[in-house]
């Protein structure tokens, strides 16, 4: 079999890249190891009759220009922005809700603190302005430091100009906040501990870092930039779960003439005189191609699939040093009924994200456990109950609770994940009991996915949700590391297009979209 481009991995980025390459006139083949496409954006039956977005449970959201370019609605993509966007129950029985509309959030906040209510609109606006500028950064191909290329420099200059147009005030804030601990950022704005925690949580999500770790504000800002820059954060639920999103991408790709194969596990890359010329599948089938785009994480691509002799030994060392240790688990619960949160008067407040983490110290202590290789005793939880907006995911009257759990470090100090996965479920349910008494008795089925499962089942090294820590030293042109940050690699014909490249994780399709642009440029 022959193709123009082989895309390894049928996750959102692989599919986005393939669809755009096909739209650009090339003939891509997507090879997905599992029996379903979607990678970490899948809807799976985890218990008879109960389906959930087993890994990621909210969309990044997808980059709007991608949705438009591929006309994804036509391929069945439907999403909702639930109100409230996020609901944070407090142990004392009060609940804090943030809505898409800042005015409504502010009036909600008035019950907690007048100053916070007064500051919220300014916070929302500041985040919006910064996101508008950073949003441009996410669409850029990081420049080549050694041999700057006008193709990159123009958009970069555009970004620089936008940055200056932000004005002194916002610009200085951006520079000051970027490297700051998100705890400081949140507390610069707000005094209510619960609100500070809700905001700080966005800085630590998907990071092996606590709210007091420097650089976590950058994570929050980039996340905001990928979304709408709303003060309430980004909560995008997809009808049918995230699997529906990736099947829409797959169908768009097919529509443009791409071939998408499942149960097609790539064993190694074909290498001929210093270039990658295709792939070899398990079972020996060879597929020749002008280029190979790896939507699997950089370590998979460069250490397992590529014969590393093709790389400079220093680069091999740098790939190894790319930090990919995961810290999050997923607990998917099949519930016989809707849990009653003491802080929630009605089910309406449970339609968005549910944040569990009363204050910043609670989040930091959860991190402390993990720092030393332990499972957080009282983890930070980000919960969705997708059945409230999409009942089709569970039998009538029953519910799915999708729980994102942090921290559960990939490297445990004692024992192995297969032995200890149960402890995660236990810790989560014990914690949830405090907020929603009786929830335990509603559980009819459960699935625990630890970093170990994410690595073995979903194939991400270290089980990292973003294929690599989104820390300051692993962002932009240093993602995965300097010299490999432009989707190209020193090995001719081999490209990277996974979340392990700029602009990183979250189900946005950003890396795939940027990479496709570069591949099209090189191949045509």
């Amino acid at each position: 079999m022959k193709a123009d481009v082989v895309v390894i991995g049928g996750g959102p980025n692989g599919l986005a890249a393939a669809a755009l390459l096909a739209k650009g006139g090339l003939k891509p083949v997507v090879l997905e190891r599992r029996e379903v496409v979607g990678g970490a954006a899948v809807t799976e039956e985890f218990h008879p009759g109960f389906r959930a977005s087993t890994v990621a449970h909210t969309a990044g959201p997808l980059r709007p220009s991608l949705v438009a370019a591929l006309d994804l609605q036509r391929h069945g993509l439907e999403w909702t922005l639930p109100e409230p966007r996020v609901f944070a129950p407090h142990p004392d029985g009060r609940g804090l809700s943030l809505f898409g509309d800042p005015a409504r959030s502010a009036s909600e906040l008035a019950r907690f603190s007048a100053p916070d209510a007064a500051r919220y609109p300014a916070f929302h606006a500041s985040l919006g302005r910064l996101s508008a500028v950073l949003g441009r950064l996410l669409e850029l191909t990081p420049p080549d430091v050694e041999r700057p290329d006008l193709r990159d420099l123009f958009p970069l200059a555009g970004f620089g100009w936008a940055l200056r147009r932000l004005g002194r005030e916002d610009g200085q804030d951006l520079l000051r906040w970027g490297p700051m601990a998100v705890a400081d950022y949140a507390q610069e704005w707000f005094e209510t501990p619960l609100l500070a925690a809700v905001i700080a949580a966005r800085g630590i999500q998907g990071m092996m870092a606590g709210p007091w770790s420097a650089g976590t504000t950058a994570n929050l800002l980039l996340q905001a930039a990928a979304g709408e820059g709303n003060g309430a954060g980004s909560t995008v639920l997809v009808k049918g779960g995230l699997g529906a999103l990736t099947s829409a991408l797959a169908s768009a790709a097919r529509g443009f003439g791409a071939v998408v194969r499942t149960r097609a596990s790539v064993e190694r890359l074909l290498q001929r005189d210093g270039a990658v010329t295709g792939v070899v599948l398990a079972g020996g089938e060879e597929i020749e191609a002008r280029a190979v785009a790896a939507a699997v994480d950089p370590q998979q691509a460069l250490l397992r699939l590529l014969d590393p002799v093709a790389l400079d030994p220093d680069d091999v060392q740098r790939v190894r040093n790319f930090r990919t240790a995961g810290m999050a688990s997923k607990l998917n619960l099949a519930l016989s009924g809707l849990p009653r949160f003491r802080a929630a008067s009605d089910e309406a407040s449970l339609r968005g994200r549910i944040h569990i983490g009363a204050d910043i110290d609670t989040l930091e202590r959860a991190f402390d456990d993990a720092k030393y290789g332990g499972i957080s005793k009282r983890p930070y939880l980000d919960i969705t109950i997708p059945t409230l907006s999409d009942p089709s995911l569970a039998p009538a009257g029953q519910h799915v609770m999708s729980v994102y759990v942090q921290y559960t470090p990939f490297k445990l100090k004692a024992g192995t994940w297969p032995e200890r996965a149960g402890e995660v479920a236990y810790a989560v349910l014990a914690l949830l009991e405090e907020y929603a008494p009786g929830v335990r008795s509603l559980v009819v089925g459960q699935q625990v996915l630890t970093p170990w499962h994410l690595e073995t089942t979903y194939g991400t090294s270290g089980g990292h949700p973003s294929h690599g820590e989104p820390s300051l030293d692993q962002l932009f042109l240093a993602r995965p590391f300097l010299g490999f940050g432009r989707y190209r690699t020193p090995v001719r014909g081999l490209y990277l297009c996974s979340a392990g490249t700029h602009p990183g994780g979250g189900v946005t399709g950003g890396p795939g979209m940027n990479a496709a642009r570069e591949i099209l440029h090189d191949l045509s």
Binding site: V145, Q172, R176, G215, R318, D361, A478
Partner: protein
């Protein structure tokens, strides 16, 4: 002879007798004064305490024992300052501080010396791989330091100004970055953003080696060795090597106070008038610009220029008249983070500590002794502080200056000084006045675990908490660097974004202390750069 008070009044009567008044007689204030005077300005330095030096001070805390009370080693005193002020002629003498000794609970130890071959053998003993990596690491660090060093003598450009010169300097940095090899760019990027522990993990496997090296990354910050942004400070230890002027770390004969006195000597020679026990109550403004200072007794001293070497909180929130500064600037000042995280324990000893893991009075006592047995130990010390307690088992950096400089203690007796982290300024329970001695005991107990004889040989002990540093040395929240050296408070962001160029919104008022670029440590660079900026604004020569 007239009483000082009288001479103050005379000074007050003679309006504009001074071109410039420097608030604070610490090393930075004195450096500024010296440079201004050498440019023909008539300068007055006002020091609140009875001794000069600020935190770089030697005091006879116990009879016969002269102690470098706060800052205890010379790190990065800028060679250009030593040269331009001819400090050796004014008595500056740096004595080498040889090596770092880290005792370990398992009875082993790590002892790095300036003798490269022996250090290599020592590290080899712990890990052959690390012995190899150690040289490469040092090479890489020196290269990085060579890149970073010029920044220490650079006035931070303002990326949001249209000041072409400044932007040019910024672009120049970019150009120099581009000229580095990709390997160097990679390392530099990591140094500027990573945590000390993560960075060292990439180089070494020996836990105690990583722990001891990473310690330099946290000093004076409220960060742990695993907090991003701590790697950068590792560079500082290699800056000295390229200065060439002298070893990067050392004692000054007569204690760190002798450095301040040498600078004071140079300043006086240039015509600077220095007063001690002369605190300032207020900075006087007239017609929207600085007009001088007001003393506690109401006397006034006029001057068109005032340079404050005390930190921004004191300068702008306490000394400046309300309304003298724009609200936005004051908001920036109130956001500036201090968060003192360290304490000092100074001991007068009737002998020398005897380490179980390396008995006797060997050369290991002449260098720094570091209580940093493992990275986890360091990180747990930080965890305690995060929640408002001092570390149950702190990181301690110990020196015995009397071994290198016998002049500081009576014959046969010794001075032992401990830098202790973490001691958070804000305690969750109780006050530092209640907990001072408990803190001191914790430090002594920690040391005694490695040198059991210590408790028997203590003659006197002085415990300094962050609260004491704030009270006695006017260091807000007891931060030894006049404000945290965290990424968001460095270079053009220090101390307030847009005001990193030593000037302030109040015409005639300048900052010249460690709260300005390039920050703390006995470096003198802020004082020098501030003075040079002042001279750019007002020109050389006396007031006319």
């Amino acid at each position: 002879m007239i009483a000082p008070a009288v001479s103050y009044r005379m000074a007050a009567r003679m309006a504009a007798r001074y071109d410039a008044i420097v608030i604070g007689g610490g090393h930075n204030g004195l450096v500024s004064a010296a440079y201004l005077a050498r440019a023909g300005k008539k300068v007055l330095v006002l020091e609140r305490r009875h001794v000069l030096g600020g935190a770089a001070v030697t005091e006879e805390v116990f009879p016969g024992f002269r102690v470098s009370v706060c800052s205890y080693v010379v790190s990065l005193l800028r060679p250009e300052i030593i040269r331009e002020l001819d400090l050796p002629r004014h008595g500056l003498e740096i004595l080498p501080l040889d090596g770092t000794f880290t005792p370990m609970p398992n009875g082993d130890h790590l002892w790095r010396m300036s003798d490269h071959a022996r250090t290599r053998r020592e590290i080899y003993r712990h890990s052959p791989v690390d012995a190899e990596a150690y040289d490469e690491y040092a090479r890489a660090m020196v290269e990085m330091a060579r890149f970073v060093k010029p920044i220490l003598s650079m006035v931070p450009p303002d990326p949001f100004s249209y000041d072409v010169k400044g932007l040019g300097r910024l672009a120049g940095l970019g150009q120099r970055f581009r000229k580095l090899t990709r390997g160097q760019q990679h390392s530099l990027l990591q140094l500027m953003t990573m945590s000390a522990a993560d960075l060292l993990d990439q180089w070494f496997e020996t836990d105690v080696l990583k722990a001891t090296m990473s310690a330099s990354g946290i000093i004076g910050t409220f960060l742990g060795v695993r907090s991003p942004g701590t790697a950068y400070v590792l560079l500082h230890h290699y800056m000295g090597e390229i200065d060439g002027a002298f070893r990067s770390w050392g004692f000054s004969r007569g204690g760190t106070g002798a450095i301040s006195l040498a600078i004071a000597g140079a300043a006086r020679e240039a015509g600077v008038e220095i007063r001690t026990e002369a605190s300032v109550a207020r900075i006087k403004t007239r017609g929207g610009r600085v007009a001088g200072v007001v003393l506690p007794d109401g006397d006034e001293i006029d001057a068109g220029l005032v340079l404050s070497s005390v930190d921004p909180r004191i300068t702008f929130q306490k000394l400046c008249e309300p309304g003298a500064l724009p609200a936005s600037f004051l908001e920036g000042v109130s956001r500036y983070k201090f968060r003192g995280s360290s304490g000092k324990v100074n001991l007068a000893l009737d002998g020398l500590p005897n380490f179980t893991c390396l008995p006797g009075q060997g050369a290991h006592l002449r260098g720094a002794m570091s209580i940093s047995p493992s990275v986890e130990y360091m990180e747990r010390a930080y965890d305690d502080a995060k929640y408002g307690d001092f570390s149950r088992r702190p990181y301690v950096d110990i020196v015995i200056p009397s071994l290198t400089d016998p002049s500081v203690a009576p014959p046969g007796k010794h001075v032992l000084s401990c830098f202790v982290q973490y001691a958070p300024y804000k305690l969750r329970e109780g006050t530092w006045d209640e907990k001072r001695e408990a803190f001191g005991d914790t430090v002594i107990d920690t040391l005694a675990e490695y040198a059991p004889n210590l408790k028997q040989i203590i003659l006197h002990r002085q415990v300094l908490t962050p609260l004491d540093m704030e009270r006695e040395w006017s260091l807000s929240e007891g931060n030894i660097f006049q404000g945290e050296l965290s990424l968001e408070q460095l270079f053009f962001l220090r101390p307030v974004p847009g005001w990193a160029r030593y000037r302030t919104p109040l015409a005639g008022l300048y900052m010249c202390g460690s709260a300005t670029h390039p920050g703390g440590g006995i470096m003198g660079a802020p004082g020098r750069l501030a003075a040079l900026e002042v001279l750019k604004d007002v020109g050389h020569g006396g007031a006319r």
